[in-house]
């Protein structure tokens, strides 16, 4: 930055765009330059949107089983049809006939060239209660004849729609991340803030505790904790307990970040200046210190969500986390555990793909946020 050399007080430097903007706005501009992070933001937004409107977006009731559609292969949509008046918007999927191999008696699905299943946007389908409250039966995409098989990404062993189950699974898996992070935040900010604010002995104890928790292998501990959750408890209780268990480990990273920022900010000159200005401790913390590390906390939280999602998925996969009939990506993947069923029906991997995409997007997002919050780090 240049300064005038005359003896008179220097005028303000010529207005550059960045000079008139607030730090938060500058951060947003930096974030927007980060293309992968923007992509992450969009994907994460879409996933949470899907989770929010799962009932409407899922073509079917995720629990509707039909033995005759067991391991039904995916059907691909044809959006337009050649009619007498040219190309016409009329989505449909092929109908699959089931045949049994004469010798092995194994079921095989073959497309029936004579029959197609026509679909309708916003059509009537399986009834549901939206958010458990409002009864409805419209789906984004539904077969014209309710009850016709519609398996866009195939069916599972019991003939349930994998896509619908994956969409419903997003609701549980993605919120485990959110709720877990909220709990971690509570623990981490509480404990880390305590350590950073009081320093000294409290800080020492908290630091050793954090070191200790970090040095534990998380999955075995989670497994032991999760194994202690009685199998016959109601799903909602289990859900919260598992989330709590997952966040019991996740708080350490947040506590570390909060403590570090607190300690470094406490000795910053501008905080000392605020003290001399006569600010109360509360005002120093909330007006002067918190805004300076809120962005770091948000970034760390965003990076903690995928860890939680992976933890829930892993535990449920092992059979120690959420239990059916609860639908989460981990529970769904547990069904894909058997290598023979995967070899026969690779579409059972779909929830796995969903996990990877969600975690990837959240990591890109968190990384971009961190870079934007701390351009020099």
């Amino acid at each position: 930055m240049s300064t005038s050399t005359a003896a008179a007080p220097p005028p303000l430097p010529a207005t550059r765009l960045a000079d008139t903007l607030s730090p938060r706005r500058l951060m947003w501009l930096r974030f927007r330059r980060h293309r992968l992070a923007m992509l992450g933001l969009i994907v994460v937004g879409l996933i949470y949107f899907t989770a929010a409107f799962a009932e409407f977006l899922a073509p079917m009731d995720p629990n509707r089983a039909a033995a005759r559609y067991a391991l039904h292969p995916p059907q691909s949509i044809t959006w337009f049809e050649h009619g007498e008046d040219g190309l016409r918007f009329r989505p449909s999927v092929p109908f699959y006939r089931m045949e049994r191999d004469r010798r092995t008696l194994q079921a095989r699905f073959v497309p029936d060239p004579d029959r197609r299943i026509y679909l309708r946007l916003f059509g009537e389908g399986d009834p549901y209660r939206f958010w458990g409250l409002f009864p409805a039966s419209r789906h984004l995409l539904a077969p014209e004849q309710p009850g016709d098989p519609l398996f866009l990404t195939g069916a599972d062993r019991l003939g349930r729609d994998v896509l619908s189950r994956t969409i419903y699974g997003a609701r549980i898996s993605m919120t485990v991340g959110l709720v877990g992070v909220a709990l971690s935040l509570f623990l981490g900010v509480g404990i880390g803030g305590l350590a950073g604010y009081y320093g000294g002995r409290v800080d020492w104890v908290v630091q050793r505790l954090t070191e200790y928790v970090i040095s534990l292998p998380t999955i075995p501990i989670w497994m032991a904790l999760a194994a202690a959750v009685p199998r016959d408890w109601p799903p909602l209780t289990v859900y919260f307990l598992i989330t709590l268990i997952v966040s019991l480990i996740g708080w350490t990273e947040l506590a570390r970040v909060v403590r570090g920022r607190f300690l470094s900010l406490r000795t910053e000159d501008f905080v000392t200046a605020a003290r001399i200005d006569g600010c109360s401790e509360m005002r120093i913390i909330f007006r002067h210190m918190l805004p300076s590390f809120a962005s770091h906390i948000i970034a760390s939280m965003t990076l903690a969500i995928p860890l939680m999602i992976l933890a829930e998925t892993s535990l449920s996969f092992l059979g120690l986390g959420l239990q059916p009939p609860t639908i989460s990506w981990g529970v769904l993947l547990k069904e894909a555990q058997n290598i023979r069923s995967i070899a026969a029906a690779p579409w059972l991997f779909l929830p796995g793909a969903a996990v990877v995409v969600a975690v990837l997007a959240l990591n890109f997002l968190g990384d971009g946020l961190r870079d934007a919050a701390d351009p020099h780090a």
């Binding site: 730090p23 000159d269 501008f270």
Partner: protein, 580 residues
């Protein structure tokens, strides 16, 4: 531009030619929006046995120029035009044409042209012994075997007066003091008898007494080894002390070049005139001080500190035996009258900053009293105040910090920063607050519109003005200024000092002015106290202490301060002080 060839007539013809000729050197840094010309068409020569000082304020391009000679300009900067003609043993080479990673340049680096850097703390690898780093430098350019290189390294350490050289050879940099590290750096630079030594602000990070020793050493080495020295600095005192020739840089351009006397006594370019003047002005006391000299002794005592003590306890762990406790402030006693400015002078680690922070009760002193005279004439001991009382006291005693970047909350607008003390003390709010902030900004020479902006939009000097506005917002009577001008360039420094003097006149302020810079104190302070190892060793009027110092340390300190007049070079005999 004058062609400043100063040389002894008896020199052989080969030596009369410059060892290095820089012509039209232009360095660009490609940025998102176009290219930044950090250095733009610079010419100069270096002569054997002579020192050229490259002078300029921060961002003037002097460091980039020096790095270009070794072809180590940090990426993405690159030489866009010009030549760097080096006359070495192997004939003439244009360094600007060489491949920056090639063998030829590497042979010149360290072998023919050596460089020392500003930060003695970080310029040596912390993970390798001094000996390792020295031997490496020696063996890169000579055929000496390990043992011979070791012997040479120890000899070099002796040459730069590192005590117990054999022992020091095995030590790591963190076991050295700052001055010793810079000596080791110099030893490393001398490893292969370079023809040219480039020194980039080698004494800026050092205390003034250490600086004087290093400058002595460099001068002596140059005399013995006949190197050409390119000395980069922003400190005109250092220039006056060691330069034969001076080149002044401003915003990437060379504005003036000539023999040191010419530059100091008859600067031609407007910028160098301004630079010299802002330094010379600090040689004299500020005119405002003369006016008040008579009434000050009769003014009531505003602040009386007695027996103030602060001990830093060693860090302790559960299984760690702590080190020794450090007594940062040891029974300090001082007085400050109303309307007076007291300078606290000392080198790093003397405890002067801790003293200031104890008086403000940012740090809790262990003993002593801090008596503050209230407006009604009663006296309060600030040390005994509770939270509410301290809050009241902080309306009277304010503080200005050294770092213009760290002392303003980056997430608040300037208006919010300045208005904060008025707001939290419940004095003003709303429109009245806004108006008052505007007045304060104009008082410190900034437009009222600045209130809308965030600190990142301002330069260091402007930020310091904002800090001053915040400090005077509550109409205080005492301001503790901790190195308030140290982070500023010399031209800005004078402006900020004058602003402070102006404020003092207008508002009847008293200053406790903490500084390591004797020049600034001589200009700004009525009285000064010299601090050494937590104690005040000498107090008195500034003129009296500067002209007739009584304590040995004060003498050593004052004799180490370079004078900004090349004619007075080396006149005062240097005095050393050893506290046993």
């Amino acid at each position: 531009m004058p062609e400043g060839l100063v040389q002894a007539p008896a020199m052989p013809a080969a030596l009369r030619q410059p060892v290095l000729e820089v012509r039209n050197l232009t360095i660009g840094f490609p940025l998102r929006q176009g290219t930044l010309r950090a250095v733009d068409g610079v010419d100069f020569d270096l002569h054997a046995g002579k020192t050229l000082c490259l002078v300029g304020e921060s961002g003037s391009g002097k460091s980039a120029t020096a790095r270009a000679i070794l072809r180590i300009v940090p990426r993405p900067g690159q030489i866009e035009a010009g030549s760097i003609l080096y006359r070495g043993a192997g004939g003439e080479t244009d360094i600007a044409k060489l491949d920056p990673g090639g063998r030829q340049v590497r042979a010149i680096r360290g072998g023919e042209i050596a460089m020392i850097f500003q930060e003695p703390m970080t310029s040596l690898s912390p993970l390798h012994t001094i000996g390792f780093q020295l031997v490496e430098a020696i063996r890169l350019h000579t055929r000496l075997d390990r043992r011979a290189a070791r012997a040479r390294a120890i000899e070099l350490l002796r040459r730069v007066e590192v005590p117990r050289a054999e022992n020091a050879f095995e030590r790591y940099p963190f076991e050295y003091s700052g001055g010793m590290r810079q000596r080791a750096m110099i030893a490393m630079a001398l490893a292969c008898n370079p023809k040219i030594l480039i020194a980039d602000e080698p004494t800026t990070a050092l205390d003034v007494t250490t600086q004087a020793e290093i400058l002595d050493l460099m001068r002596e080495l140059q005399r013995d080894l006949g190197m050409a020295v390119l000395f980069i600095t922003h400190d005109m005192g250092v220039v006056a002390e060691i330069a034969d020739e001076v080149a002044v840089m401003h915003r990437g351009r060379l504005v003036e070049r000539g023999p040191v006397e010419d530059i100091f006594l008859a600067p031609q370019a407007a910028y160098s005139r301004m630079l010299i003047q802002s330094v010379l002005r600090l040689e004299e006391p500020a005119p405002q001080r003369a006016q008040r000299a008579e009434r000050l002794p009769n003014a009531p005592i505003l602040l009386k500190v007695d027996g103030l003590t602060k001990v830093f306890a060693p860090r302790k762990g559960l299984f760690r035996r702590g080190g020794e406790a450090v007594q940062a402030v040891a029974g300090v006693q001082l007085e400050l009258r109303e309307g007076e400015t007291l300078g606290i002078v000392g080198e790093s680690g003397s405890g002067k900053t801790t003293l200031g922070r104890c008086i403000m009760r940012i740090l809790e002193p262990e003993g002593g009293s801090i008596l503050l005279r209230q407006r009604d004439g009663s006296v309060t001991d600030v040390r005994g105040l509770d939270r509410a009382g301290l809050r009241q006291a902080h309306r009277e005693m304010r503080m200005i910090f050294q770092d213009p970047y760290g002392s303003l909350n980056p997430r608040m607008t300037v208006g919010e920063v300045i208005g904060e003390p008025l707001l939290v003390n419940g004095l003003l709010s709303g429109e009245a607050l806004r108006r008052r902030v505007g007045e304060l900004l104009e008082m410190v020479g900034l437009p009222a519109a600045a209130a809308e902006r965030y600190p990142h939009a301002f330069s260091g000097g402007q930020r310091q003005r904002i800090s001053i506005a915040r400090a005077v917002a509550l109409s205080p009577r005492l301001i503790v200024a901790d190195e308030a001008t140290s982070a500023l360039d010399v031209s800005i420094r004078a402006q900020v000092l004058d602003l402070l003097l102006d404020m003092q006149e207008r508002l009847g302020l008293s200053f406790l002015f903490i500084s390591h810079d004797i020049g600034v104190v001589r200009y700004f302070c009525d009285r000064m106290a010299v601090m050494y190892r937590g104690r005040i060793v000498e107090t008195g009027s500034t003129e009296q202490v500067c002209s007739a110092p009584e304590h040995g340390y004060t003498r050593a300190l004052l004799s180490a301060v370079p004078s900004a007049d090349p004619r007075r070079r080396g006149l005062g005999r240097r005095s050393r002080y050893r506290d046993e």
